[in-house]
Amino acid sequence: MMSDTTTVQSTAVVDVAKRVNWFMPHRVIMMLVAAGLVILAATTMRWDWIPQYQNQLLVGIGRTLALLFSSAIVGMLFAIPLGLAQVTGPRPLGWLAAGFCGIIRGTPLLLQLWLLYYGLGSILAANPDFRKEYPEIFYYIRQAWPYGFLALMLSFAAYEGEVMRGAFKGVPRGELEAAKSYGMGRWTMFRRIWLPRALHRALPTLTGDTVLQLKSTPLVATITVVDAYGVISKVRQATYLTYEPLLLLALIYMILTGIMVVAFRYFENMVPSKR
C-alpha cells in the first residue's frame, strides 16, 4: 500500500525475482508445515456446524459486501465536495468541511455507531408524532442497518475527504491554467481536468482505504446487523466453540481482502499512468 510509486519496470523485476525464489527449500518446509496445520485443524477441530450455518453465512458475507460497497460509493460522493470545499470553497464552508473531517477522524467509529444507534435511534423511535406522520420512514428507523450504513458512510467520507483535499491540491497549477487559457469555464475545467487528475492521484490511497473499510464493517454487528461477523457470533453462542468460528471468520476476511487487492491492482493497471 505504501510503495505505490514504483515504476512498472521495477515491479516487473521484483515479480520475476519472487517467482524464482518461490520454491526455496525453507519455503517448501514452511508450506508443508502450514498444510500440516490445516490438516490438523480440519481433522481434530469441530467443523460439523458449518452445513447448518452455511446459508446464513453466505447471506452475512453478502450483507458485509453490500454495506462495504454502498458506504464506500456514497461516502466517496460526499468526499469530493468535502475535499473541494477545503481547497477552493468559501472560507466558512472550508472550515465546516475541515471540522467535519476532524471530528469524525478524531473519534472511534464504534462510538459514532453507538451514538447514532442508541442515541439518535432512541430519540427518533420514541417520537410518536414522527411515527404517525411518516410511517414509511419509521419502518427503516426501527431497523439497525440504516445506522450502520450511515456511520460507515460518514467515516469513509471524512477519511476520503482528507485524501481528496490532498489530491485536489496536488494537481499541477499549470494544467489548470492551460485549461483556463483554452477558455474552459470553471465547471468544464473541474469536470475535464481537475477531478479526473485528482482521482487518478488518489487512486492507490482509495483502494487501500477501501480494504480498511472492509475491516471496519464487522462493527455493525454490535448494533445487531447480522453481517458475516454477526453470523459467526451467533454460531459461537449456539455451539460454545472458541476457536473454530473465529478461525473461519479470519479466513473469510483474508480471502475477501485478497480478492479486493488483486481486483484493485487490475483496475489500477488499466488506468494509464505516466507521471
Binding site: 505504501m2 510503495s3 526455496m24 525453507h26 519455503r27 514452511m30 476532524g102 471530528i103 477522524r105 478524531g106 473519534t107 472511534p108 467509529l109 464504534l110 462510538l111 459514532q112 453507538w114 451514538l115 442508541y118 442515541g119 439518535l120 432512541s122 430519540i123 420514541a126 417520537n127 414522527f130 472492509l214 475491516k215 471496519s216 464493517t217 464487522p218 462493527l219 454490535t222 461477523y229 472458541t242 476457536y243 473465529l246 478461525l247 471468520l249 479470519a250 476476511y253 483474508m254 481482502t257 485478497g258
Partner: protein
C-alpha cells in the same frame, strides 16, 4: 423531540459525585490510556524487532514475519482482538496446565495491551522498515568503517537517521491506537466507550454521554496531534522535505 433536547441540556448526569457518572467516564479514559500507551510501547518493540528481522534477518525469519504482517493486516482488528483475547488466553492456559504451572487469571488490562500491541506491531513493522530503508547506505558504511559493531550502528546511526522518516507514520498509528482501544469494549473491557455505554444505559441519557465521550476522544486526538507536531519538528531538523 423536544424532550430529547431538554434531556441533552441536563449536564448534571456528568457530575463527578455519585449520582453523576463523570468519575466512571474518567476511570474509563484512564483505562483507555493505559491500554493505548502499553499497547503502543509493545507495538514499537515488535515493530523494531520485526523491521530489523525483515531487513537483516535470514530467509526463514523474513518469510515468517511476512506471514505475520500480511495476516494481521488482512483480518479486521475486531476479529483479531476476539481471537487473541479469548483464544489467546485459553491457549496460554492450556499450555501452562500442560507444563504443570497451572491456570493463571489474565487481567483484562494485560490482555488488552498484548492484543493491541500484537496488532499494532504488524503495522509499525512496515512503517519502520520503510524508514530504515530510507537511510542512505553510505552512512551505515561510514559507521562500519569507523569500526562500529552492528548494535552500535543501529543505536547511533540507523535509529536517529530513520526517525524523521518514521515519525509521520508512527504519529498516525498512535492516533489509530487511541481509537482502537474502543474495540476492547466489545470483549467487555471497561474502557471509555464501554463505560460510556453503561452510563448511558443506566441513565437513559444516551446522547449526552456519547457526545461527551466523543469530546473526550477528540480532545485526546487534538492534544496528541500537537505533541506529534512538536516531536516531528524536534527530530526532523536538518531533513530536507519535498514541498
Amino acid at each position: 423531540m423536544y424532550e430529547a433536547l431538554t434531556a441533552l441540556s441536563d449536564l448534571s448526569v456528568l457530575a463527578f459525585e455519585p449520582p453523576g457518572w463523570g468519575a466512571v467516564l474518567l476511570a474509563g479514559l484512564i483505562n483507555s490510556m493505559y491500554i493505548a500507551f502499553g499497547g503502543y510501547a509493545l507495538g514499537m518493540v515488535i515493530g523494531l524487532l520485526g523491521a530489523s528481522g525483515k531487513l537483516y534477518g535470514g530467509v526463514v525469519t523474513r518469510d515468517l514475519l511476512e506471514v505475520y504482517t500480511t495476516v494481521v493486516r488482512a483480518v479486521p482488528e475486531l476479529v483479531l482482538i476476539l481471537i487473541l483475547y479469548y483464544a489467546g488466553t485459553e491457549a496460554l492456559n492450556a499450555v501452562l496446565i500442560r507444563i504443570g504451572i497451572g491456570q493463571v487469571d489474565i487481567s483484562g488490562l494485560v490482555a488488552g495491551i498484548v492484543v493491541i500491541g500484537v496488532v499494532l506491531g504488524a503495522y509499525l513493522t512496515e512503517v519502520i522498515r520503510g524508514a530504515i530503508k530510507a537511510v542512505p547506505g553510505g552512512e551505515i558504511e561510514a559507521g562500519r568503517s569507523y569500526g562500529m559493531g552492528p548494535f552500535q550502528i543501529f543505536r547511533r546511526i540507523i535509529f536517529p537517521a530513520m526517525l524523521p522518516h518514521a515519525l509521520p507514520g508512527l504519529g498516525n498509528y498512535w492516533l489509530t491506537t487511541t481509537k482502537d482501544t474502543a474495540l476492547l469494549a466489545v470483549v467487555g473491557f471497561t474502557e471509555l466507550t464501554l463505560a460510556t455505554r453503561q452510563a448511558a444505559g443506566a441513565t437513559k441519557h444516551y446522547m449526552t454521554f456519547f457526545l461527551a465521550a466523543g469530546a473526550i476522544y477528540l480532545t485526546v486526538s487534538i492534544l496528541s496531534g500537537i505533541v506529534i507536531k512538536i516531536i516531528e519538528a524536534r527530530f526532523g531538523r536538518g531533513l530536507v522535505r519535498p514541498t
